[in-house]
């Protein structure tokens, strides 16, 4: 029961963390009007993939994704999961760097980025080394702190809304469905980790419906708040539309000058947990693939994260990071299609007894 709540919470947290920064930009390039159609289509595609994923996993009770791949064969595991590790490491590195840039621009514009990045890295690594239990438990508390701030941001932004900015809201040329970028959007909805923890929980799709609905609503607000405030023409020229939208809000009775600090505070909580989950996934894959002891795992994680630190420090400019980040989410999207589908097919075939698999 509780574990499910925790998993739902962390599902929301990861989606929020990925959704805040680059996601709106991508939506604006995909559609000029009626952005909600894109968001909803993406959400339903995500739900479909999660369903396939869960269906595939349900063929193998008490097993997680890595176990299933190992069952398919060692070579399969290497072919599928080594690129996944590489992608997760780059995603880990780029995600932190990207968030650091935004956080610095909110709080400490004159501080060198590496000092804050290393701090965030340190805490993420610490959390990941402490294990899944720690991640799940702290996620609930951080969720309780972060979500009021997110809601505060969303509701206070209403003062600047101009409804004319989003008209016309109906338009039906579904060209975006054939745009490859639409498929890339899936990369922002992180659900792969669900398969990594399924071995010790009995998670069902219906338990994820509430988180899924709230994530979809959140994606809609993230896309629509800048639109309501600035309008489509202005929004495409902005670097971080959501951040700019938050900065534009000024409430006279509130004792704080900038709404953006709340945005920044929530980003810190989100990025630490998201990265901890990514690192934990990497650790899990390495441990099971190379059959390492649990005690050794923390050294592996530290080594891997050192690579990530170096990687993220050496990217020279912010625009490059965004570009690379987009690329790595695109690769992530590829895995989000491939992994559920392969597992589903394998499970389906195994159930039919094609490989002589017995329960």
């Amino acid at each position: 029961m509780t574990n499910r709540i925790q998993i739902g919470v962390i599902f929301i947290i990861i989606n929020l963390s990925f959704g805040y920064l680059v996601y709106p930009n991508l939506i604006y390039t995909l559609a000029k009007t009626a952005h909600w159609e894109v968001v909803l289509c993406q959400a339903f595609l995500q739900l479909l993939l999660i369903w396939i994923y869960f269906k595939g996993l349900s063929f193998f009770p008490e097993k997680d994704v890595i176990d299933i791949y190992l069952k398919m064969g060692r070579w399969f595991t290497f072919i599928f999961l080594t690129p996944l590790i590489i992608n997760l490491v780059t995603l880990f590195a780029l995600n932190i760097r990207l968030h650091t840039e935004v956080i610095i621009s909110i709080f400490l514009p004159r501080t060198p980025y590496w000092s804050i990045m290393i701090l965030l890295f340190f805490i993420s690594i610490y959390t990941a080394v402490k294990g899944l239990g720690t991640i799940l438990r702290s996620s609930v508390i951080i969720f309780l702190i972060v979500i009021p701030l997110v809601l505060l941001n969303i509701f206070t932004s209403v003062v600047n809304f101009d409804v004319h900015n989003v008209t016309p809201s109906w338009s039906l040329p579904h060209k975006f469905l054939f745009n490859i970028k639409f498929l890339y959007l899936i990369g922002f909805s992180s659900f792969l980790f669900l398969g990594f923890i399924s071995s010790n929980t009995k998670l069902k799709l219906r338990h994820l419906l509430v988180p899924w609905v709230s994530v979809t609503l959140f994606f809609l607000t993230v896309v629509y708040i800048p639109l309501f405030i600035f309008g489509q023409e202005a929004v495409v020229t902005l670097n971080n539309p959501f951040l700019e939208a938050m900065d534009s809000i000024d409430i006279s009775w509130f004792s704080f000058n900038r709404q953006a600090i709340f945005f920044g505070v929530s980003l810190v909580g989100l990025v630490i947990l998201t990265n901890a989950v990514l690192l934990w996934m990497i650790g899990q894959i390495i441990q099971k693939m190379l059959k390492r002891q649990k005690e050794e795992l923390s050294y592996w994680m530290m080594a891997i994260s050192m690579i990530a630190v170096i990687l993220s420090i050496f990217i020279p400019s912010k625009s490059l990071i965004e570009k690379y980040f987009l690329w790595s989410t695109n690769v992530q999207a590829f895995f989000m299609f491939v992994i559920p589908i392969t597992i589903f097919i394998y499970g389906f075939l195994a159930k039919r007894g094609v490989f002589g698999y017995e329960k």
Binding site: T2, F107, I116, S138, S255, I261
Partner: protein
């Protein structure tokens, strides 16, 4: 006098309070052995004579007096050390270990000293382990209340009792704890010595055990599927595992209507939260991120710091340390001198430092709020560790501003979430019969 009695006498030759008294019962001599300091000799003698009057032989007397007859000499020595009276027959062949009339060395059941519950029964645990166990048994008359006793230690064997409710506390936990207690090799002198036996948490400020003085709290923990330990000569019930809920909710809250108890608990959460971040927030807002305030508020803050030579971090850390020193000093001092320190401290902190422009007015208000807030949580040890955890956040805040407060707080949360005792996480509110429930 026979060999065995001689042997015992020689063994205790360095103990001046050791006695061997010869008594005549039914015209045969018996020897009474024990410690004068532990056994009330006059009354015990009277008791033995009264018993002897109604019996015909020494053997019958021994059977009537005691359940432990004719034990080995090592056990005799142990019994003497534990404060029992040992009786030997004239030829030394028969003996009996008797529960004597004891010297009263214990204070009687009193009111709690470290907690002040309102709306609750006022009995507190005392020094004697059996009295404490009795207090629990009396309040929780259930056949499922199980009691395991241990004798642990190297130099002295100290009595340790474990209580749990069968069918409620998870069996795996009981077995694990039982194993850990049987492994104890060193002396258990303090609560922390016992705490160390439950796994490595050497540098952690959060103990595995929650000490409470109140029987109702201990019983409530038992009912909530937890284990309660009693150490001899320790006037606390030690609840294992220690959960974060112990800091925020007490069973006495529920003597109020539900909504009031919720309110009380919310205040405690605010207290813990404020203790952790208020000083850090002051430093961050004053020195690193003043721009987040609206202009008039920022000007007000700047004005209150006008002419103060110390940096915000220095003045805050000085004040925080000073306040913690005062809290510690009050504990050390005798009750008659304590108020003097409070008064002097109050005057110095409240008036003199502000008037001398060493610290700002605003900081004094913040510090006062923190002291009050940190005392709102339940249990002195919890209040202490919350006070300790504010320092890292303060240091981070002085470097990174609001970001530092935020990261520091999240790190604290993650740290607390990572704590487990025997696989039961610290951040849970209930223990299920199998696992944990958050």
């Amino acid at each position: 006098m026979r060999n065995i009695v001689k042997e015992i006498e020689s063994k205790f030759s360095n103990h001046d309070d050791f006695f061997i008294e010869e008594e005549l019962v039914d015209s045969s001599a018996i020897y009474l052995i024990g410690y004068k300091t532990l056994v009330d000799l006059t009354k015990s003698k009277l008791y033995v004579h009264q018993m002897a009057a109604s019996t015909n032989s020494v053997k019958e007397l021994f059977t009537n007096l005691s359940g432990q007859i004719n034990v080995e000499s090592e056990q005799v020595i142990k019994a003497v050390l534990e404060g029992n009276l040992v009786i030997f027959s004239h030829n030394g062949e028969e003996n009996a270990v008797v529960d004597p009339i004891v010297q009263n060395l214990r204070s009687s059941i009193a009111e709690p000293k470290n907690e002040s519950p309102i709306y609750s029964s006022l009995d507190a645990f005392g020094e004697d382990i059996n009295t404490n166990l009795g207090m629990i048994r009396k309040r929780l008359g259930s056949e499922n209340l199980c009691h395991c006793s241990y004798q642990v230690g190297e130099l002295e064997k100290r009595k340790l009792s474990m209580l749990y409710i069968k069918g409620r506390t998870p069996n795996a936990l009981i077995e694990k704890v039982d194993h850990q207690l049987k492994q104890i090799k060193s002396d258990i002198e303090t609560i922390d010595d016992l705490n160390k036996q439950f796994g490595q948490r050497r540098l952690s400020p959060v103990s595995h055990l929650f000490a409470t003085e109140l029987p109702i709290q201990a019983i409530h923990s038992l009912k909530k599927n937890r284990i309660v330990f009693f150490l001899d000569n320790c006037p606390f019930a030690l609840v294992f595992p220690h959960l974060i809920g112990d800091m925020l909710s007490s069973v006495n809250d529920r003597n109020f209507p539900f909504i009031l108890s919720v309110l009380l608990r919310i205040f405690r959460v605010i207290g813990a939260f404020a203790t952790l971040i208020l000083p850090a927030l002051y430093v961050a807002l004053v020195s690193v991120n003043p721009e987040v305030f609206k202009t008039d508020l920022a000007l007000f803050v700047a004005k209150s710091r006008e002419g103060i030579p110390l940096s915000a971090f220095l003045e805050t850390i000085a004040m925080v340390v000073l306040v913690d020193l005062i809290l510690e000093a009050i504990v050390r001092l005798p009750k008659s001198v304590g108020p003097a320190i409070t008064m002097v401290g109050g005057v110095i902190l409240g008036q003199a430092m502000v008037e001398a422009k060493l610290v700002s007015n605003l900081l004094v208000i913040v510090i006062t709020a923190v002291v009050i807030a940190s005392s709102a949580v339940i249990g002195m040890q919890n209040s202490l560790y919350i006070r300790l955890l504010k320092y890292p956040i303060l240091i981070l805040a002085s470097i990174f501003g609001i970001l530092g407060v935020c990261i520091g707080f999240i790190f604290t949360v993650i740290y607390l979430a990572s704590l487990t005792s025997n696989d039961i996480p610290y951040i849970t509110f209930q223990i299920g019969q199998k696992g944990d429930v958050k």
